[in-house]
């Protein structure tokens, strides 16, 4: 029994460490990219185009993951692309969480007309296909970091609002909330001390999940050339370019795809791990 618990704990720990480790590595690569990236991510050189990764015949030293059809270093482009991906993940994820969770808390705890308004808004929002909505927004606002972040907030706040609302409603029915109210606590105070701490693990899990989603949305926008700007590399843009030459140079497509996959997976696993850490019963 004790052993089983220990094993579960270790497993949780491993998941947390692996996902956290990958994200940390990625963050370091992104921050230090201008100094440690082996090549200029934008430098084109047709003499070194479509070089294969280091373990294949015909690889050139220094081009670890090969080059694309314009001779740009894939590894360097992935590292620089991580900057955009992580900045979008952090800013858009956090902002979406703040806005969505606040609205969800208010709707779920105060109910009444506030709930009515917020819930109707969520219903209407959910009727839009999200990616098309994002593309439409950026088409109107123009490309750029702000536009990408705003688009993600606008299409995804409902995810937080819905889940947090439901959670706040079930917490609000608990006896300890009634006790706090009987004790004369103000409604807003009750929301912050009684409801919020118990909804927080859910918000944290959703937040990291949202960061993963933000990375995907950024990649999709990059894929259709609507992300930050054309002269900074993005994973989505690389995947789009790699698609054209997948038969002659699969590595141009596959490496950014693997990076994207690992990053999104790590975010969701980190969320699960953190959720357990935040839960006083499991802690």
């Amino acid at each position: 029994m004790l052993d089983a618990r220990g094993m579960i704990k270790r497993r949780l720990g491993l998941r947390l460490w692996l996902s956290g480790g990958w994200l940390l590595l990625l963050a370091l690569a992104a921050i230090l990219a201008p100094w440690i990236a082996p090549h200029d991510p934008l430098m084109q050189d047709l003499f070194t185009s479509r070089l294969p990764p280091f373990w294949m015949d015909g690889a050139e030293p220094g081009y670890w993951l090969g080059t694309d059809s314009l001779g740009r270093d894939v590894l360097s482009r992935i590292m620089h692309g991580a900057r955009v991906a992580l900045i979008v993940a952090l800013i858009a994820g956090t902002a979406t969480a703040l806005i969505g969770a606040t609205l969800g808390l208010i709707a779920g705890y105060f109910r009444g007309w506030a709930d009515l308004v917020i819930s109707r808004m969520v219903d209407i929002w959910m009727a839009f296909p999200p990616v098309l909505f994002a593309i439409l927004l950026i088409a109107v606002m123009g490309t750029g970091l702000t536009s990408v972040v705003v688009a993600i907030i606008v299409i995804d706040w409902t995810r937080f609002a819905r889940v947090v609302r439901a959670e706040a409603m079930s917490q609000g029915a608990m006896d300890y909330v009634a006790s706090a109210q009987v004790a004369g606590q103000r409604r807003l105070g009750t929301m912050l001390t009684e409801i919020l701490p118990n909804v927080l693990p859910t918000i944290v899990a959703l937040l990291t999940l949202e960061m993963g989603i933000a990375v995907i949305v950024e990649a999709i926008l990059g894929f259709v050339n609507l992300s930050v700007s054309t002269d900074s590399p993005t994973w989505g843009g690389m995947i789009a370019e790699g698609r054209a030459s997948v038969h002659r140079a699969w590595w141009v497509l596959v490496f950014p795809l693997i990076t994207l996959f690992l990053t999104v997976l790590s975010f969701s696993q980190l969320g699960e791990g953190l959720k357990d850490r935040f839960d006083p019963v499991l802690r």
Binding site: R111, G112, A173, M174, D175, Y176, A178, S179, A180, Q181, V182, A183, G184, Q185, R186, G189, T193, E194, P197, N198, L200, P280, V281
Partner: protein, 290 residues
């Protein structure tokens, strides 16, 4: 008016729906322990919730007055009402498992109201909380103060809740079936504890229960409810000697006799149910949703 809590013709209804309390009137004197008895759905918990201002969202007060310590709560503004209730009344909830916030330490949860409502310093509130935890026979109160709810057993949590209810020296406590969620053995200890605390602090108690055995142990008077209607109000001794209402008599007869295991159960007869249902319908005649 000598009663500390005086409910006058209180009607509570589902929003846009039928009444759940039908013109309930009852008094609780200073230091009195009044039992509210009835089967599930009789509206006994609803009375306590209406007094404390914690009715569910789907329910509203449609008529009546609730006088607590000389003021009609229903005429106060929400903020004033909260302050008045917070300063004079407290709740011992039904289920100790959901009545403590799982993510906050016990100590904070007991001291909050002393600090927020009575304006005590945190240090004073903490020494008071320690004293109270001792009073409800919790071993090692200092450790419990720093514990999270899930680290305590159900009985311990109910003790904490009782300590917390008495912390601010309220003059009225609503105990909403405080022992139903506990083991039978623990129930007895908790009942004795509530009775002890009540006697020591002289608090008036509105004791919601479906268990007449519990009433006979802790209450001095009781009100019998059915379908949101008060059928009978009397002293506990009179009630057990000679219940007046036919439904009360049937309820008393339905109490299982543990002394004779071969005796079957006596459910309340259909004819009695039909009669009280008719009484409830009678009360609704002439009433229309405001």
């Amino acid at each position: 008016m000598s009663a500390f809590l005086s409910i006058r013709n209180l009607s509570v209804a589902l929003k846009g729906g039928p009444r759940l309390l039908r013109a309930v009137s009852l008094d609780v004197a200073v230091g009195e322990v009044r039992g509210l008895v009835g089967e599930s759905g009789a509206g006994k918990s609803m009375i306590g919730k209406a007094v404390l201002g914690i009715l569910p969202h789907s329910v509203e007060v449609v008529a009546g007055e609730i006088w607590l310590d000389g003021v009609d709560l229903l005429r106060l503004k929400p903020a004033e009402r909260r302050r008045k209730v917070g300063a004079t009344a407290a709740l011992i909830p039904q289920d100790p498992l959901t009545a403590l916030n799982p993510s906050r330490r016990i100590g904070r949860q007991i001291t909050d109201r002393l600090v927020d409502i009575l304006g005590w310093t945190r240090a004073d509130a903490e020494s008071r909380a320690l004293e109270l935890l001792g009073e409800v026979h919790i071993p090692d109160p200092a450790r419990v103060m720093h514990s999270y709810p899930h680290e305590l057993s159900g009985g311990m949590r109910q003790r904490v809740l009782i300590a917390s209810a008495f912390a601010a020296e309220p003059r009225l406590i609503v105990a909403d079936e405080p022992t139903t969620a506990l083991d039978v053995t623990v129930q007895k200890q908790i009942l004795r504890l509530i009775a002890q605390m009540q006697a020591r602090h002289g608090t008036a108690l509105l004791f919601v229960t479906h268990d007449l055995g519990v009433v006979s142990k802790v209450c001095s008077s009781l009100s019998v409810l059915y379908g949101g209607l008060v059928l009978e109000q009397t002293g506990v001794r009179d009630f057990f000697r000679a219940p007046q209402h036919p439904y009360s008599r049937a309820l008393l007869a339905a109490t299982p006799q543990y002394t004779d295991p071969m005796a079957g159960l006596n459910p309340v007869p259909e004819s009695v149910i039909a009669a009280v249902t008719e009484e409830v319908a009678q009360a609704d005649r002439g009433w229309r949703h405001g």
